[in-house]
Symmetry: C3
Subunit: 455 residues, 3 copies
């Protein structure tokens, strides 16, 4: 009877946290970068769960102000001491090599080697994660403890990598709905063995896509993008400019498995429907959460919210990048993310989707005074047990604001009640013949973007 | 010299609290319900103070989604024990019978009787107040202490009532003013021996009407309604749809005699002139007060603010229904309300009326720089003693904002000064020839409804 | 490379505080009033620093609702005791005579004398400052301690003053810029030996004018007014009604040398560009500051913000008039103001001017996704050392909001970064060819006035 058939059946999600963590675990060993076989391997694993179109874009392709870079692949890398022992070994951690390092094989003095070594003195046992995508360079990342053991001797260094014309690879899953209007869900797939940033985002996006694909009906269409950060979103946007008009809402998913509260970062426009839906979902999640205004720094929302694109795309994460010490280090590992946090993140995404799907506008057939709920079995004193005051207030709020000018999200926001209870009340009232959906604004009566007030 | 002649003369209101309480006391014994002789008797008592048109609407009359119910009258009711003693006696308290109980006269076992008994275990000496208007039923309300004395025996129960085709009765007092634009003042008259809810509202409305009727001139017209709750306002609205356009402002008056701070509940539209006037009046009352946003629950503002009616009607009360334990119990008695609280409630109503009456818009004749107040005897250094800085600031504020775009209430709000001081300053400036009323918007320059910001 | 060439060269301002204080010191002994030789002498001293047009307006000239008053000049004044000793002597303090006192020379009893004496009992050693511009009167101001020494004897009183047809004098300095749109900078020159109110304002205005006059280019034109309070601004406005349309921004400068935080009082319109510029400048000053809403009391902003004038003119001061005990007393002397406070006040004015000068609107040439900063040497990982995150954020903010709809001040406000850093980032981006100024709205793309929200 609910207007929204999308509520997850709890019996099917009992082990969803375990499943989410399982994908993180499976993808963890793969050495990804913004191009190359690691991304392809990752997309193939995702493809086993979700139908994916995999795109290959040739190196050198111009994409707005950028150019698709050469493809980078690495087979092995090491630093050997005079005994020929690997004192630093890519096989032990793919973080050891600066991503996009040019190939190198030579004997170097300690002093020259040190110029190519990156450490994290404040966390001496952790290996930092470094990249050099757009400047030709090579380097190794090691723990400060490892670096301290190096003696004033010569070392053999080898980075057996290739940096050559190839392709940038990304995956795309399109799930059509009744309307061609789209929700864009985007996550980056360019980081090597780092769990929270961003295997967690990949895992949540895959599970969200699977859930969406099993729904009996979808009002909106959904497009999930598995792309390398920055250059991937720029490439996708450059190749899909004719599709941007259909994107009504979007979310960048990243850093969703670590401890820390859920954080929603608003879109550049700031008060679009996705912003309001995400704020509402987090506010009613029962957990401590945080809402932040847009800033032009972060993940791919930087591109989706650039001034000429300006999509209604926000970003959902837990404690954002740079605000936890494990960020971009070897400590962002399988111990850092948990099934529970992954599952709660997925639930927040599902709540947001439910709001987007269910946010209709209704018109009361009895706008002159309240209709008599009692004779329709909708009023406490007459209705059956199990209906409690919250539901009664939801009925009254929907009736009071069902004037064709308020969406259900408007009503939820004004009443302070959850979207779910408002949506349910609307369904009861439609069932009782007291309400019908306002259809004259098209199949979707979407509220106008509200003007945000700066704090 | 003031533009508003409505300020109550303090010498005439010295005993107003006593008068207000006197009417509560007089009406207390009457058994009222949503129809019947109790309402008629109440209206006749009011009629002795205020000219009243009394309307009778036949049972069965359709009013929007509702139907005027049968008329209910009760003569007597009791529960007798085996000795024939009245262990529960309607003559002792009319709360003992569930309002709208169907007639009953039979001998019942304790178990059957108990299915029809209502008690308040958390207040064992209080009798609850219950109704069953739209479901055929009968019942008794007793204190938990009384209920505990009943033994496992048979009892004779009698409710000597009639529930039959008749009429719904309400009273209406119309006080015409210079403009046909109306202020609606509404209170409910359907509760039996309950003092705060709502004999206090009735008493305040009657006194307010008497005061309004004695004014030498009224700018606005006033319509006072003495109606049964819910069905009464629905009936009045259904029968007066052609008059709704004239209603510019309105107040539901209820629960005004008990302890607790004055509370103003905004209209559905939220920032209409009545909302702003009431907020201003309470803020400047010198007492702790509270402003609440509209919710679609409460008293007859539910109907006045239904989406198809959507009048600018707020609700003034002290601690609202359900937030004090005496609500709808025998403890809402003559000890619960006080002359002082009744009088302060009336004063708040008068202040609100004064604002509505006085809220004109003026245009300065000297908008280019300040006019020279000194040469007109309006400036402290030159003027007489007794003018103090507040008055001087009021003069300056009115002059500064008398640009035809700010009403006096706008000026009061922006300056933080009381409406009374702003109104007085405007009168002084008009008298000095520096200002005149802006008349090009009709006789009443009413500010546009302001957009409310949700908290 | 900065778009704003106005940043003060620190090497030239090292002793600016001393210079500012020097002018206060030089002007302190002069007896000024709203007309007369004291004003002329003051303007001549200013003229030695700043080119000034000096205007003389004849007594009796009608100016809006006012009339230019007779000119008042005073040569000497005293109260002599029976021994012929000057017990009160104008030569010791020009505050001793009520400004605009009519001439008097007679022998009076103590009782008559006392009717013309003004004291400050709460500060027994201070002389109050009093005026009687528009009521014919005479009087002396003395310390309470002096007053207490007077015995019950006769005194010879003399005020050797003239009050006769003459002129009202004011000075005006116009500094043309590329645009004819003007910034009005106004200070009052009518107070006798009072340092904070308003020799401090005069000194800051003179220094600001000197700095403006030395700038290699000005985008806006500047008009500095040195006028008697109230009647001076009224006179200027009455004589320059055809010029008011060119005034885009304005500041009244007063009370800028005393201890106490900088206070900006908004214009009547409340959210104009000068209001936003001043709020931004104070917020980023690194000092505790205060923003107040407009009230129709204070200094000449009363006239500039009268309803028919309604210019975007705010007022900058330190602790406002009446909120420090020294106000309008002999304690507002050379010890009360300091070089440091004067200099900091001037710096705030310069920051405001820099914002007004630099507040352009830009359009990005690469609005589709972020441009690649790295290849242009603008990105940390690639660019040189010394660029730090704040600058990087400023670049990203400017790029993100360079959509032709946001001025640099809009961007500074939204980002929370200082206008200076935003302005510098814009200059870097223009230099890199990524941005150009939006010129289609005229030479100045000024943001629309924002709607202020009342607190």
């Amino acid at each position: 009877m609910s207007s929204s058939p999308l509520v997850a059946d709890p019996t099917t999600v009992t082990n969803i946290g375990i499943e989410l963590y399982g994908l993180v675990d499976e993808l963890y060993p793969i050495c990804r970068s913004i191009t190359g076989h690691g991304v392809r391997e990752t997309l193939h694993r995702i493809e086993q769960r979700l139908p994916l179109a995999i795109h290959e874009v040739a190196s050198g392709t111009p994409v707005f102000d950028w150019t698709v870079p050469p493809e980078w692949n690495i087979r092995d890398a090491w630093i050997k001491d005079q005994n020929g022992d690997r004192v630093v070994d890519f096989q032990r951690s793919n973080l050891h090599v600066v991503s996009y390092s040019v190939p190198v094989r030579k004997r170097v003095a300690l002093s020259e080697l040190q110029a190519h070594l990156h450490t994290l003195p404040e966390h001496p046992s952790w290996i930092p994660y470094k990249t050099s995508y757009y400047a030709e360079n090579w380097g190794f990342c090691v723990s400060a403890e490892q670096a301290a053991t190096l003696t004033d001797a010569e070392y053999d260094v080898c980075i057996d990598a290739s940096l050559a014309a190839g392709h940038l690879t990304y995956g795309e899953c399109y799930l059509p709905g009744a309307s061609t209007e789209e929700v864009l869900l985007s996550c980056h797939v360019c980081h090597p063995s780092l769990c929270n940033d961003n295997l967690s985002g990949i895992a949540v996006a895959v599970a969200l896509g699977r859930w969406l694909s099993t729904l009996p009906k979808r009002r909106l269409s959904y497009r999930l993008l598995f792309i390398p950060g920055t250059i991937g979103s720029i490439t996708w946007l450059a190749r899909n400019q004719d599709r941007l008009g259909a994107i009504r809402h979007g979310l960048v998913l990243t850093g969703l498995g670590a401890p820390g509260n859920l954080v929603y970062k608003r879109s550049r426009r700031g008060a679009t429907e996705i912003d309001r839906a995400a704020v509402h979902a987090l506010k009613h999640s029962g957990q401590a959460t945080e809402i932040r205004d847009f800033i032009p720094y972060g993940y791919d929302e930087r591109q989706y919210c650039s001034p000429g694109i300006n999509l209604a795309v926000g970003c959902l994460s837990r404690t954002p990048y740079g605000e936890y010490p494990e960020y971009h280090t070897s400590a962002d590992n399988l111990d850092f993310v948990t099934p529970d946090q992954l599952e709660r993140s997925l639930q927040a995404c599902q709540t947001i989707v439910n709001i987007l799907e269910g946010n209709r506008t209704y018109v009361s057939h009895n706008p002159m005074c309240e209709p008599q709920l009692g004779k329709r079995g909708l009023y406490r004193a007459v209705g059956g047990a199990g209906q409690h005051p919250v539901q009664e207030m939801a009925l009254l709020w929907v009736l009071n604001l069902a004037d064709g000018g308020h969406s259900l999200l408007d009503i939820a926001e004004r009443s302070g009640l959850s979207f779910g209870s408002i949506d349910h009340a609307a369904a009861l009232l439609v069932h009782s013949g007291l309400l019908s959906e306002r259809l004259d604004t098209g199949s979707m009566a979407v509220p106008e973007e509200k003007v945000r007030r700066d704090a």
